[in-house]
C-alpha cells in the first residue's frame, strides 16, 4: 500500500473533498476510483496541477459529454475559479420528479411542490384523480395477448440448453452418454442458447392532450403486462410514475383503479424531457431501459424544454435496444413531425408511426422483433 493512504487525513482531504463534490454534482465516483486517483497522483510526482487533473480524468472517468462541467468543478475546487456555468448547476430544488408504485401509495419519492413557481398555464401540474369506464377494445387485446408470447422481441440468453438442432455440439453430455455405453458415442447431442424475452418498457403520456386515449393505452399496458414476461410501464406527464406493479393485477378494472390512485398528474401538462430525465437519473429505473424495447405513446406536445427532451432521448437511445414512438397524430397520411417534442426526439427514434388506435399499437408491438419493419 502506498504512503498517501496513511498520511494525516488533511493531506488527502482536498482530494476526498473533490470526490465528494463530484458525487454531489451527480457524477458516479466509487471509492476504488478515489483510491486509484490518489495512487496515480503519487505515481506522477505530481509535478503540477496538470498531473493531478490528468490523473483525475483518467481514474475518475467522467463521461465525455460532461468534461466541461468536470473541469469547471476541478477549477473551482483546486484553483478557486468559479465559472458562470457552475452556478447554473442543478441542485436539490430541481430533484427529479418521480414516483414509484413499489413504495406504495400516492407519495412521490421527491417533494412535489417544487415546480409551482414559473410554471405556465399549460405546463402546470394539475393533479387530479380519475375514474375509468369499460371500453370495447377487448377482442383486439385478447388476440394481442394470445399472439404476443411467440412474437415478442427476444434476445439470446447466456445459458445453454439442449436442443434437437442446436448450433453447438454438447460435448459434456456426449461424454457422459459415452461412459454409459462403453465409450461409444451413440448420438450427437446439441445445444443452443436459450432465448429470453427482451424487456419492453412502455411510456404512457397522460397529459391533457392525450386525455381521450390514456384509458385505452392503460388497457393495452395491462394486456401487455399480463401476456409478456418482462414489461415495465411508466406514465409521463409533468412527472414520472412507475405503474408496473399496479397494471400487473389480474383483474383489469382493479388494475386501472390502482393506477388511477397512483398517478397524480392526469390530464395536466407535458414535460416529457424532465420526466425522461428523471427516469434516467435514477439508476434503478435507468437499468430497466438497458437493452430494452421502448414504446412511447405520446403526441409529443411538449411544454417543457425541447433541449431537455433531446438530451434525455440521446441518452435513452444509447441504453435502449430500440425506441418506437407511436403518436395519434401520425394517423393522418400527410403526417410530418412538427410538434417541438417530436422534432427533438426524431433523430433518436427507430420507428415513428401511427398510434391512433389500439389495433395499430398492438400491431407495432408485435412487429418489434422485425428489424426495419413496423
Amino acid at each position: 500500500m502506498s504512503e498517501p493512504m496513511f498520511e494525516p487525513a488533511r493531506e488527502i482531504a482536498p482530494f476526498l473533498g473533490f470526490a465528494a463534490l463530484l458525487r454531489h454534482a451527480s457524477f458516479a465516483v466509487a471509492p476504488e476510483q478515489t483510491m486509484a486517483w490518489l495512487a496515480a497522483i503519487e505515481l506522477l510526482g505530481p509535478k503540477g496541477i496538470g498531473d493531478i487533473r490528468r490523473a483525475a480524468r483518467a481514474t475518475l472517468a467522467p463521461p465525455p459529454e460532461r468534461f466541461g462541467e468536470f473541469d469547471a468543478l476541478f477549477d473551482a475546487h483546486f484553483l478557486g475559479v468559479v465559472a458562470p456555468a457552475l452556478q447554473a448547476e442543478p441542485s436539490e430544488d430541481e430533484a427529479p420528479l418521480a414516483a414509484d408504485d413499489s413504495a406504495g401509495g400516492l407519495e412521490p419519492i421527491y417533494g412535489d411542490d417544487m415546480h409551482e413557481s414559473g410554471a405556465k398555464a399549460t405546463g402546470a401540474e394539475r393533479l387530479s384523480a380519475r375514474r375509468f369506464v369499460a371500453g370495447d377494445e377487448g377482442d383486439t387485446l385478447r388476440q394481442f395477448a394470445r399472439a404476443l408470447p411467440t412474437r415478442a422481441p427476444r434476445r439470446q440468453g447466456y445459458r445453454w440448453r439442449k436442443a434437437r438442432s442446436g448450433s453447438r455440439v454438447d460435448a459434456r453430455r456426449m461424454f457422459r452418454d459415452a461412459m454409459r455405453n462403453a465409450g461409444e458415442f451413440v448420438r450427437v447431442h446439441r445445444r443452443r442458447r436459450r432465448l429470453r424475452q427482451r424487456r419492453i418498457v412502455v411510456l404512457i403520456d397522460v397529459s391533457g392532450s392525450m386525455k381521450e386515449r390514456t384509458q385505452a393505452h392503460l388497457r393495452f399496458a395491462h394486456a401487455l403486462t399480463r401476456a409478456a414476461e418482462a414489461v415495465e410501464v411508466f406514465t409521463v406527464g409533468t412527472r414520472l410514475t412507475r405503474i408496473t406493479r399496479a397494471v400487473r393485477l389480474r383483474d383489469h378494472e382493479q388494475a386501472l383503479t390502482a393506477v388511477s390512485f397512483l398517478v397524480a398528474d392526469w390530464d395536466g401538462g407535458t414535460r416529457l424531457g424532465e420526466a425522461l430525465g428523471a427516469l434516467l437519473s435514477i439508476p434503478r429505473f435507468a437499468a430497466l431501459a438497458r437493452g430494452a424495447a421502448v414504446v412511447v405513446l405520446s403526441d409529443g406536445l411538449e411544454r417543457g424544454d425541447p433541449g431537455a427532451l433531446r438530451a434525455a432521448m440521446a441518452r435513452f437511445a444509447q441504453l435502449a435496444w430500440r425506441i418506437v414512438w407511436l403518436t395519434p397524430l401520425a394517423a393522418d397520411p400527410g403526417f410530418e413531425p412538427r410538434t417541438a417534442g417530436l422534432v427533438a426526439a426524431r433523430p433518436f427514434l427507430d420507428v415513428l408511426a401511427d398510434g391512433g388506435t389500439v389495433e395499430s399499437i398492438c400491431a407495432h408491438v408485435l412487429n418489434l422483433a422485425n428489424r426495419g419493419a413496423a
Binding site: 495512487a39 496515480a40 506522477l44 483518467a58 481514474t59 465525455p64 442458447r193 437493452g291
Partner: protein
C-alpha cells in the same frame, strides 16, 4: 492499490509519449498519462472515441512499445465465453478416447493439448508476453460485459474440468468502445479511462507526415484543414485519421500524375467520404471548403 513501478523501461508518462512514435503513433500527454497509469496501477485501459480516431492503433502501438504480442478479441453481438476464453478440442478428445480403448494406458482428455486457447485464456497464462485488446466492446451483449467484469477484477477464470486459472501477474488489458451504447458503470469504474478526441490540427499534420511519407507539407496542411471542416458537417460517417492519411496519399498520387491541386483533392474525395448521402450533402460546399483549406 497494487502499484507496479517497473514496466520495461517506462518510468513516466513522458517516457511513454517519447517511445510511442517508434511504433508509428503520436500520443498527446493525456493519452500517455492514462496509458502510463493503467500500466503502473495494473488496471485495464478503456479507450472511447469516435470511429477512426485511432483507438485500436493505440493498443497496437502500446503492445509494440512493450515488445509484447497483441491478442485481439473482436466483440460482436452474441459473443460468448467459448469465443473469448477456451474451447475443448472435441474431435481430438474423441480420437484419443478411441485410441485409448485399443491400447491400455489411461488417458486424461482434459490435458493442455485438448484445450483450444482463446485470447483471454492465452493472456492469463502468459501475462508477461502479451497485451489483450478487447475491441469494440459496445458491440457485445450486456451479459458478456458482466462476464468481463468478473475477469477484469480478479484476472482469474475457472474451467470446470481443470479448476481455476489465475494470472501470476496483472496482465495488460486494453478495451475500446465506439460508444454506440453506454457501457455499464461498474466496468468504467474498474478501468483507467481515456476519451480519444479528434487530434489537434498540428498533431494530425504530424501524423499524416509520419504515416504517409511521400506527402508534402502543403498538401498535409490542406488535408488537415479540409478534414477539420468536414468533421463539423452533419455527416453519417465522419472522416477519421486513417481517412485523412489516405486522402493526403491519394491526392499526392493524383498530383504527381498531373492533376492540379484543388482538382486532385476533389477527385480523391471518395477516399474520405464513403457514404452516398454524405457525398451529396458535401458536393455543393466542397469548392469553398477546399479553397479555404488551401489558403
Amino acid at each position: 492499490m497494487a502499484v507496479r513501478r517497473t514496466i520495461v523501461g517506462i518510468g513516466s508518462p513522458r517516457e511513454l509519449e517519447e517511445a510511442l512514435p517508434a511504433a508509428y503513433y503520436l500520443a498527446d500527454d493525456e493519452l500517455a498519462t492514462a496509458a502510463y497509469l493503467a500500466l503502473a496501477l495494473g488496471k485495464p485501459l478503456l479507450l472511447e472515441g469516435f470511429p477512426g480516431v485511432g483507438k485500436t492503433e493505440a493498443a497496437k502501438a502500446i503492445a509494440g512499445v512493450l515488445g509484447r504480442t497483441l491478442l485481439r478479441l473482436q466483440c460482436y453481438e452474441g459473443i460468448d465465453a467459448s469465443a473469448a476464453l477456451y474451447e475443448w478440442n472435441f474431435p481430438r478428445q474423441m480420437l484419443a478416447l478411441r485410441q485409448e480403448s485399443e491400447g491400455s494406458d489411461q488417458i486424461d482428455i482434459y490435458r493442455d493439448e485438448f484445450l483450444i486457447e482463446r485470447p483471454m485464456l492465452a493472456c492469463l497464462r502468459r501475462p508477461e508476453e502479451t497485451v489483450l485488446l478487447i475491441d469494440e466492446i459496445d458491440r457485445s451483449d450486456h451479459e458478456f460485459e458482466a462476464f468481463l467484469l468478473e475477469f477484469l477484477s480478479d484476472f482469474q477464470i475457472s474451467i470446470p474440468e481443470r479448476g481455476p486459472i489465475r494470472a501470476y501477474e496483472r496482465p495488460v488489458v486494453i478495451l475500446t468502445s465506439n460508444r454506440t451504447r453506454e457501457l455499464h458503470e461498474a466496468l468504467r469504474r474498474r478501468c483507467v479511462y481515456h476519451w480519444i478526441d479528434y487530434p489537434t490540427p498540428d498533431r494530425e499534420m504530424r501524423i499524416i507526415m509520419m504515416r504517409a511519407s511521400g506527402v508534402g507539407e502543403r498538401a498535409a496542411r490542406a488535408v488537415v484543414a479540409a478534414v477539420g471542416q468536414l468533421r463539423r458537417e452533419p455527416l453519417v460517417k465522419r472522416p477519421g485519421i486513417a481517412e485523412a492519411v489516405e486522402w493526403a496519399e491519394a491526392a499526392t498520387l493524383l498530383n504527381e500524375q498531373g492533376s492540379r491541386w484543388p482538382e486532385a483533392f476533389r477527385r480523391s474525395l471518395g477516399v474520405v467520404l464513403k457514404d452516398e448521402d454524405d457525398l451529396v450533402h458535401i458536393a455543393p460546399k466542397i469548392d469553398a471548403i477546399l479553397a479555404e483549406a488551401q489558403a
